[in-house]
Symmetry: C2
Subunit: 102 residues, 2 copies
């Protein structure tokens, strides 16, 4: 096995939009759909698909409620998501090795 | 536009295998097909497709020759490829922000 094995990078996290979503969620306790949409610059459809995939993978959990009779969805990283993100970052650093700028 | 805009990441470079190939090529003057294949742990078909995409994007150049009557292909980053990789790393660092491990 080579030193630059691409399969060591978690494919669920690596997609550009899912990586952006996970990065946002690392910085907050929870975030609603519109906040995420604005932060990652996504369309409703693409964001929904990405969040669904992260939920199915157990990396993100969602709490649905009603605020002033309007549905509200709050997203947050699960402990598994935080761990997976940390592992991903470690593998990424390893792959990029000395190429990372100071 | 949000702080975590996923579209700022160069899609040509971001794919796991292409990122691995670019990372290898940053560490050497040139590399042949079999060396790359071993380093990134790819199949012939997938590696060919990824290299083709990088060539078409102008990030990688290939020199074909014969050694002992056998065809040999040497791959190397172009100046454009090095610049694009550097820009990509900068955007990645920005996206990951404070989440990057020390």
């Amino acid at each position: 096995m080579g030193d630059f094995d691409y399969q060591k990078l978690d494919d669920v996290i690596h997609s550009r939009m899912r990586l952006a979503i996970m990065s946002v969620l690392m910085t907050v306790t929870e975030a609603d759909f519109n906040f995420l949409k604005k932060q990652v610059n996504a369309t409703d459809g693409n964001l929904s698909i990405s969040l669904k995939k992260l939920e199915e993978s157990g990396y993100v959990s969602v709490t649905k409620s009603f605020i002033d009779r309007k549905p509200s969805s709050k997203y947050q990283l699960t402990p598994e998501g935080r761990t997976a993100f940390s592992v991903y970052l470690g593998q990424l650093e390893k792959l990029l090795g000395k190429q990372t700028p100071d």
